[in-house]
């Protein structure tokens, strides 16, 4: 897994609440058996018109957001289906950080497994970021995972919380299956005393 320590990137706003994983990657694209090939279908029904041409009215298609790697969105981002295809699509499209005031549990877990940081900030700061993004073309944020700080170039700085273990795994780019397998003795011991079900 790609590790994550610091990241500075262009910010794109998506000012909607409850963006579900069906929107992030619609079901017709879930039939692939690979982990790749989802980026081009990110937000497909919003980003593309019926027929497949880009929808000029969808905010991510605006030239000023081309190459964005940080997405700021409304609350409860990633709700709905557990499909990990959603973070795969976001990552392949180029996003490394998603900022919202809350994330659905499964989506948040899935991000951490894919080198992507779901970053939770209070509502007021998310609103401020959305506003600054819209007002300042080329608006960038810098995220420092070690220090748990996010900052822009025009005076905004905020701290954020992340669980120590997820932070550690993300910073080291660790395969957490490998970590669990280090405790094989404990697993075997559990299995020995486990009642037959």
């Amino acid at each position: 897994m790609q590790n994550f320590t610091t990241h500075t990137g262009l910010v794109a706003p998506l000012d909607r609440a409850n963006i579900d994983t069906d929107q992030i990657i619609p079901k017709q694209f879930l039939k692939r058996i690979e982990r790749t090939g989802f980026g081009e279908f990110l937000f497909y029904d919003w980003r593309c018109l019926p027929g497949g041409t880009l929808n000029p009215d969808f905010i991510l298609n605006a030239p000023r957001y081309e190459g964005a790697s940080i997405l700021v969105a409304g609350k409860n981002f990633g709700c709905g289906s557990s499909r990990e295809h959603a973070p795969w699509a976001l990552a392949e499209y180029g996003f490394r950080v998603i900022i919202s005031s809350s994330f659905a549990d499964i989506f948040s877990n899935n991000c951490f497994k894919n080198g992507m940081l779901p970053l939770v900030l209070p509502d007021v700061i998310v609103l401020e970021l959305l506003q600054r993004t819209q007002e300042n073309e080329g608006y960038k944020l810098s995220v420092d995972l070690e220090k748990q700080i996010v900052a822009d170039e025009i005076g905004l700085t905020a701290t954020f919380q992340v669980s120590p273990f997820q932070k550690y795994c993300l910073m080291e780019g660790l395969d957490d299956i490998g970590l669990t397998l280090q405790h094989e003795d404990a697993i075997t011991a559990y299995e020995v005393k486990r009642p037959a079900l």
Partner: protein, 467 residues
């Protein structure tokens, strides 16, 4: 002192360290064709094997066609996904209930039906509606594909401990108000992120009086409130459902199991991080009007006016939803006309659901402007329904009677809405485009969907004239 959740959590701890997630043992891992192929590929690349194929079971449900199964699958990419599941199960010695096996069905329907789902278990599946199995007093939750790989390799999952919420119900659901309405009522009350970070325990009279099918419907929708899992303490209803099922304990083991299952309840003085009270008598049949399951209104009411929303964000979300749904504020719910009806999904495709819908349908024909689909949750449900003649009731009324699968709940197979079509659906999600791009979904109970198919618009099933 401990809650039901706490008892299950404690019983499954493999390893616990400060500042690290707890390593939990998983008793049952269910897999399906859509979220497992990349997990097996990951195992192969890392040179790892499946630790407990005996605790892993597979079925194909998400993308399978619901029409004639003797024909080859027309969608070659879907077929490749099913073939991949078949090969992965063969390679790793995992029991698969394949597309044409008599046990095939929606993963959350067949788990309980086969008796694989049992009280006290930890159960995971790469599907958010795994919360369904909590109806048996199991700790069951949906996981992503990386976690599927983790469980395949280790039979464990590192988990941060969730908080606990109790939904305490009083009184019994009135006639015509179902478990689906109870679920929608709860989501409407606490919101689609109201339980994020929590495991919900459903308790109280209304829950005790539900059948296992009803309890599964209720727990199924927990994820629509954002919950990690939903659970209900097992009781005589649970034991009666499980007894004699294929994978349930038999003979002496059964008695031992039941004795142990009887301890699986929250103690009187158990503490919860949050408690929500709900009077079942206050509930009505519900219909969702928007693009999130929390956007819900009683059938006797009307589409809300976004201007009345509590926050600006809610107002904007409601405006956007009404635009997508092509609905005007203050429209009476019963004036909303439908084009399609879908009775199916892991929420509402069990025998009891089909019986409830058939009771409404009997003696009627669907409205000439409506096409309607019944998709049983499993072959077992389908066989049982056919034995009772429910297939004839539906067919005579103009419904299509299909083969089991997830079908139009998520529209991965050819069962989709066309742009602009409006559907009364017994499924669980009314997201934009969920049932097909541009499709408009209204979530309802099986009885309400059946009644809407017949009338051509939503109607209060409590006033239905049964024939």
């Amino acid at each position: 002192m401990p809650s039901l959740f706490e008892k299950l959590w404690q019983a499954h701890i493999v390893r616990e360290e400060t500042n690290e997630p707890t390593l939990l043992y998983i008793d049952l891992h269910l897999i399906h064709e859509v979220t497992s192929p990349q997990a097996f590929e990951g195992l192969r690349q890392a040179g790892r094997s499946v630790r407990r194929p005996d605790l892993t079971f597979g079925t194909a449900d998400h993308n399978v066609p619901t029409t004639d199964r003797s024909l080859p699958i027309a969608d070659v990419i879907a077929a490749r996904q099913i073939d991949t599941l078949r090969k992965n199960c063969q390679d790793h010695g995992i029991q698969l209930f394949d597309i044409n096996s008599p046990e095939q069905g929606i993963v959350h329907v067949i788990g309980p039906e086969l008796g694989l789902t049992q009280p006290g278990m930890t159960i995971v599946c790469g599907d958010s509606h795994t919360s369904t199995h909590g109806a048996f007093g199991a700790l069951a939750f949906g996981i992503g594909t990386s976690e599927v790989e983790h469980v395949l390799a280790t039979q464990c999952l590192p988990q941060n401990k969730p908080r606990t919420m109790k939904v305490q119900t009083s009184n019994t659901l009135p006639s015509g108000v179902s478990a689906k309405d109870l679920a929608l009522g709860i989501i409407g009350k606490i919101g689609t992120d109201g339980a994020t970070g929590y495991v919900i325990e459903y308790a109280g009279e209304a829950v005790r009086n539900l059948t296992m099918e009803g309890r599964m419907t209720l727990c199924n929708m927990s994820i629509e409130a954002g919950a990690r899992a939903g659970m209900i303490a097992p009781d005589e209803t649970t034991f009666a459902y499980l007894k004699g099922r294929r994978f349930a304990p038999q003979g002496e083991s059964w008695d031992t199991a039941v004795n142990s299952w009887r301890t699986l309840h929250s103690d009187e003085d158990a503490r919860f991080d949050k408690v929500v009270q709900l009077d079942a008598l206050q509930l009505e049949p519900f219909v969702t009007w928007g693009t999130s399951p929390g956007m819900v209104a009683p059938v006797t009411s009307h589409v809300p006016d976004p201007a009345d929303a509590k926050t600006l964000a809610d107002q904007q979300a409601a405006e956007r939803a009404l635009e997508y749904m092509a609905l005007k504020p203050r429209t009476s719910i019963q004036d909303i006309h439908i084009d399609r009806a879908f009775i199916g999904s892991c929420t509402n495709a069990r025998l009891e659901d089909l019986r409830a819908a058939a009771r409404v349908v009997k003696g009627y024909h669907i409205n000439s402007s409506v096409t309607a689909l019944v998709v049983p949750g499993s072959h077992e449900v389908k066989r049982a329904a056919e034995q009772e003649g429910l297939d004839r009731v539906f067919s005579d009324a103009g419904f299509e009677w299909r083969e089991p699968g997830c079908s139009m709940c998520l529209g991965m197979n050819p069962d989709i809405l066309q742009p602009g079509e409006r559907c009364a659906s017994t499924s669980n999600r009314n997201f934009e485009g969920r049932q097909g791009r541009g499709g408009r979904t209204h979530l309802v109970s099986p009885m309400m969907a059946a009644a809407a198919a017949i009338k051509g618009h939503f109607t209060d099933v409590r006033e239905w004239e049964f024939k």
